[in-house]
């Protein structure tokens, strides 16, 4: 048991460190370091432009999508080298936020199911950040039950005609392409009538409407499709096999989101270390210490759990199911952490503007953004189902719609 780099790993780390030291946009380092959930923005620059520039610079030097094959814009690096890169990239990694869906979910799905020519054409600009991708799965009638989606794809010559609506599509408003899950056959049970495509988001008939979230920000969108044409060669997987194709995407989604969700603990610990309460320093207060200790062991437990998964990867083993706990633990924790930080601020915790609020309002922003983390990428309840069924081997839910043709499933709860 050790945390030491092998000689090759040490060499890789040194090379990465030198390159980052010479090339990273250091003028934003401090701001990025201080950014946290609900507030990743730059005062004097457009973060999307800064992120794209950094991604392009990395791609030109062979540091983008490290684990992807070189032919598709990656570096062909090992899983452990990817982890070392992330450690070295540090706060600049926060600039990758807008690419997470493309790199973590769309890319792997394209790699597994797209034609070779499409992989060669579309993946390198995705890796370099020149093109941004989104994932069009969820619908008003299909969230956790994504197989209940209703967007239709109907064959029309060599094309497919798409009609319907997607929702909660992160980044659709700045995306160039998307992967799209549709219903091609409503007369068979719901999982069997789905088909996956990728499409140009600038196609005629695609309309993107930002959703104003509970936090006030707009990261997600509704996307409407009206007679949108997609050529058949942009189909991913067989007709009717869309569910299996989507599982590839969703497994990748949970891996990348699980690793990325922050717990809010380092921010809270730092805050408490310098905070004075009415009767002394917060860090000396027994109640505060007890809370901090409980969150500390969750944060460290999650960190070491992912290290165990990385160790398995570096030995060429498949990581165990342990990593599936990451998002479940972090999502609810950051919500509790944010609420507690506000509690420590007393009445002034209600003020949220950066210029007037305690700690520049970072915990208020965190609190308002946190409910989303427990929903996106699989709700807490879906994550528990996954652990119970796939890890512990418990029976799946009894599904009343399992063998019913999709067009015979009830659509209203009451009335």
């Amino acid at each position: 048991m050790n945390f030491d780099d092998t000689p090759q790993e040490a060499e890789f780390r040194a090379t990465a460190r030198v390159w980052i030291g010479a090339n990273a946009p250091k003028q934003y380092e401090e701001e990025l370091r201080k950014s946290s959930l609900g507030r990743t923005q730059l005062k004097n620059a457009n973060i999307l432009e800064v992120a794209k520039a950094w991604q392009k610079k990395k791609a030109d030097a062979g540091w983008a999508c490290l684990h992807w094959p070189k032919d598709y814009g990656g570096r062909g690096a090992s899983p452990i080298e990817r982890v070392i890169w992330q450690q070295e990239e540090g706060p600049f990694g926060k600039l990758s936020g807008m690419f997470i869906i493309g790199h973590g979910m769309c890319g792997p799905t394209m790699m597994a199911f797209a034609r070779e020519e499409h992989k060669r054409n579309y993946l390198p600009p995705l890796a370099s950040g020149e093109k941004v991708w989104c994932q069009l799965f969820s619908e008003p009638a299909g969230g956790s039950d994504v197989a209940g989606l209703r967007t239709r794809a109907e064959k029309d010559g060599d094309d497919w005609l798409i009609n319907g609506q997607k929702i909660w599509t992160s980044g659709a408003h700045y995306s160039d392409y998307g992967i799209l899950l549709t219903r091609t056959d409503p007369t068979v049970p719901k999982h069997k009538g789905l088909t996956m495509f990728f499409l140009d988001m600038k196609s005629p008939g695609v309309e993107v409407r930002p959703i104003k979230q509970a936090s006030g920000a707009s990261d997600f969108n509704e996307v409407y499709f009206t007679n949108v044409r997609i050529p058949d060669h942009q189909r991913l997987g067989e007709v009717g096999d869309g569910w299996n194709v989507s599982l590839t995407t969703l497994m990748n989604e949970r891996m990348s989101i699980g690793a990325g969700v922050s717990t809010g603990f380092p921010e809270l610990f730092e805050y408490c270390a310098g905070l004075m309460l009415d009767d002394g320093p917060a860090i000396e207060d027994r109640a505060v210490r007890s809370k901090l200790a409980n969150w500390a062991v969750k944060a460290s437990g999650r960190r070491y759990t992912s290290m165990r998964a990385i160790s398995a990867l570096s030995k060429g083993e498949r990581p165990g199911p342990e990593n599936s706990i990451g998002k479940l633990v972090a999502g609810s924790m950051i919500q509790d952490v944010a609420a507690y930080a506000l509690d420590l601020q007393g009445a002034s915790g209600v003020v949220s503007s950066p210029e007037n609020a305690e700690a520049a309002g970072r915990f208020q922003a965190m609190l308002l953004r946190a409910p989303g983390t427990r929903v996106e990428g699989g709700t807490d309840e879906i994550m528990r189902n996954i652990i119970a069924e796939r890890v512990l081997g418990l029976p799946g839910d009894i599904r009343v719609d399992k063998d019913v043709p999709f067009n015979k499933i009830p659509t209203k709860g009451r009335g």
Partner: protein, 375 residues
């Protein structure tokens, strides 16, 4: 980076699991639970023969000379089997105190006896309620003679010797405390068994009256030695707790698969599934924190104090959580003496107190994190 046990260590774990499955069935644990014997002597002998008691004791003192990582994997299996033997008192506390502070003669006298199963040792620290703290040590030592009362002392009624924390000064500082070795078979010692939460592990009150004792480590170094011993024991106990958590989770999972209610397996109800999923989350966090503790212990890293406190808190929480919800999954049957669930519930709650309560360790963790951040 290799944040995992080696293949040899995993093999040792399998070997220990197989041995304990055979020699330490729930039926065997119940012989001690029912008070027929104070501990499982046959099992103790077997553990010695397997080399498990001395796995981390150097060869020159009769042990296997392996290391703490090997001891961690055995600890996990001891917890999984709910073994009714004085393993933690003897191996994590007494032996570790001797390894840290014992003279050559003291090590020669006691360590081979521990490894061969001939001597049971323990740590006599607590004096009634309260957590580990120099001010709570009232028992006095003067001219090599101890006077005072220790309770609870884990496995005190069956121990052959004890490491005793005693007051040798009154400055109000850590230097007031010194450690002593006492042969409990000698004079000046009165031992009384105490009924406790977990009858598979005894607790005792020991009264020392002009009891002869020899110093262990330098005078005034007692608290510093004790802190190291408690950190090491925290990691090792965490592995027992991780083993117990996993077993309690498995019992709950198995019952949820077997039990039918409302015409279906109760494990198909989300209320039950989600409870079991949460138990898995606790057990996994505890295991990962404990692995980090194992790394720190085996390399004697500067991170050990923080890692030990984190492992202690996380594993204590996980074992309590899994043990109590295992009963809940079992419903009424889980609350019978006949089912084994309560044995893990008892062990989980007794272990939560043994090295000081969870609130004590929370406090320690924050102090240690602050120290690290300041450095």
């Amino acid at each position: 980076m290799n944040f995992d046990f080696s293949d040899d260590q995993k093999q040792l774990r399998d070997q220990a699991r197989k041995f304990l499955a055979e020699k330490c069935s729930p039926k065997a644990v119940r012989v001690v639970l029912d008070g027929k014997v104070p501990y499982d002597k046959e099992l103790w002998k077997g553990l010695a023969e397997m080399g498990f008691l001395g796995v981390a004791i150097p060869e020159e003192f009769g042990g296997a000379g392996a290391g703490h990582l090997e001891l961690c994997v055995i600890a996990e299996e001891m917890g999984r089997a709910n073994a009714p033997v004085p393993f933690s008192s003897t191996v994590y506390l007494a032996a570790e105190a001797l390894l840290i502070a014992g003279s050559d003669a003291q090590k020669k006298r006691w360590l081979p006896a521990i490894a061969s199963g001939k001597a049971i040792g323990t740590l006599a620290l607590f004096e009634g309620k309260g957590n580990p703290a120099p001010k709570n040590v009232k028992l006095t030592a003067a001219s090599g003679v101890l006077n005072g009362v220790k309770k609870p002392v884990a496995d005190g009624a069956i121990a052959d010797f004890a490491v005793v924390a005693a007051r040798t000064g009154s400055s109000g500082r850590d230097g007031d405390i010194s450690l002593f070795l006492v042969d409990l078979g000698g004079g000046g010692v009165e031992v009384k068994g105490l009924t406790n939460l977990d009858p598979t592990r005894g607790q005792a009150e020991i009264t020392f009256k002009d009891c002869k004792a020899e110093p262990l480590g330098a005078a005034g170094e007692g608290w510093s030695i004790l802190s190291q011993v408690l950190d090491r024991a925290a990691v090792l106990c965490a592995f027992e707790q991780v083993g117990g958590s996993d077993r309690a989770l498995e019992m709950g999972r198995d019952y949820a698969l077997d039990r039918i209610a409302f015409g279906r397996q109760i494990g198909s109800f989300q209320a039950v599934k989600h409870m079991l999923a949460d138990m898995y989350v606790s057990a996994t966090l505890a295991r990962s924190n404990s692995y980090y503790g194992a790394w720190a212990l085996s390399t004697n890293a500067a991170e050990l104090p923080e890692a030990a406190a984190a492992a202690r808190i996380s594993a204590t929480q996980a074992f309590q959580h899994c043990a109590k919800n295992n009963i809940q999954v079992h419903g009424g049957m889980g609350f019978t003496w006949e089912f084994d669930c309560h044995m893990y519930y008892r062990r989980a709650n007794a272990m939560a107190l043994g090295l000081g309560s969870i609130s004590y360790w929370e406090d320690q963790l924050i102090d240690r994190m602050r120290k690290k951040n300041a450095a």
